[in-house]
Amino acid sequence: MSSDTAKSTTAKPMNWFDRLAHPGQFLIWSRYFVWPLAIIATALFAVGLWYAFFNSPEDYQMGDTVRIMYVHVPNAWLSQFVYVAMAISAVGTLVWRHPLADVSMKAAAPLGAAFTAMALFTGALWGRPTWGTFWEWDGRMTSTLVLFLMYLGLVVLWRSFDDQLRAAKLIAVLTLVGAINIPVIKFSVDWWNTLHQPASVMRAGGPTMPSSILIPLIVMTFAFTFLFALLQVISMRTEILRRRVRALERKSALEGISQ
C-alpha cells in the first residue's frame, strides 16, 4: 500500500514537497480546501445558472438551444481535462513514484466518466434540434464515446485488483496509452468531416461568440471545474482512508491469528 508505507525514519522537519507527497500530510492540509472549493463552486453555479436562464440572449441561429451549451461545453472540457490530469498522475506514478499520484489517478476516473457521460448526453440533446439527429458516428462524438468507455474500463480495472500498487503501475501504462485519444478528440473537427464546429472559444484570434453568450459559458466552465476540484480532493482523501482501513483490517486479522 503506497499511502501507508511512507517511512518516518528521521525526525527532520518536512519541506513543502514532503508535505505535498505524504498521504498523511495531504489529509491534514487538504481539509482546508474542501469548504472554500464548495463555496466557490456553489457561487459560480448560482451565477452561471442565472446567466444561462435569465441574462443571456438566444442565439440568432440556434435559438434557445444555445443554453444547452452552458452545460455541454464545460462537461466536454472536463472530460478531456480530467483525462490529462490522470495522464500526468500516471507519469507521477511511473517516473517519480509519487505516493499520491496513483491515489489521484484512481479518484479521478469515475469523475471523468461522469463528466464524459454528461457531455455525451447533453450533446445528443443539443444535436437533435440543431442537426436533426441525436447521434452521428463522426470523429468528435465517436472519440468521446471511446473516452467514456476507457474511463469505465479504468474504473473496473481499479476495482478488480486487491493489490493497488500493482494495479497503479498497469493502469498508469494503460492511461498513458489511452492519452492518444485526447488529441484525436481535440483535432477531430479539423481532420475529418464533422457536424461539430471548429474551436470557437480557445482559438487564435479570440473567441467567435459575443460576450453575452461567452460570459455564462466561462462562468459555468469554472463552476464545473471547481466542482471537479472539490470532488477530486474529497475522493483522494477517501481513497487514502480506504487504504488505511485495508491496512488496519489486515493488521487486525494478523493480530487475531497470532494471539
Binding site: F53, T65, W126, R128, L227, T238, S252
Partner: protein
C-alpha cells in the same frame, strides 16, 4: 422563468440530466467518504491503530 421556445423539452431535459448526475456524483462521493471515516472509527474503537498513530497521536 423565461420562455425557452419550441425546443424547451430538450433544454430542460439536458439540465435535469446534468443535475441528476451531478447530485448523484456528489452524494456517492460523500457517502463513500463517510463510510471510510466510519470504518476507521470502528477500527479505532476496537483498538486497532496504525503504529504512527500510537506514537504521535496523529488524527485524520
Amino acid at each position: 422563468m423565461i420562455d425557452l421556445g419550441p425546443h424547451a423539452s430538450f433544454i430542460i431535459s439536458a439540465y435535469i440530466g446534468v443535475a441528476l448526475v451531478t447530485l448523484g456524483l456528489i452524494i456517492m462521493t460523500l457517502m463513500d467518504s463517510a463510510r471510510q471515516k466510519r470504518r476507521i472509527a470502528e477500527l479505532d474503537a476496537m483498538g486497532v491503530h496504525r503504529r504512527s498513530d500510537s506514537t504521535n497521536g496523529s488524527k485524520t
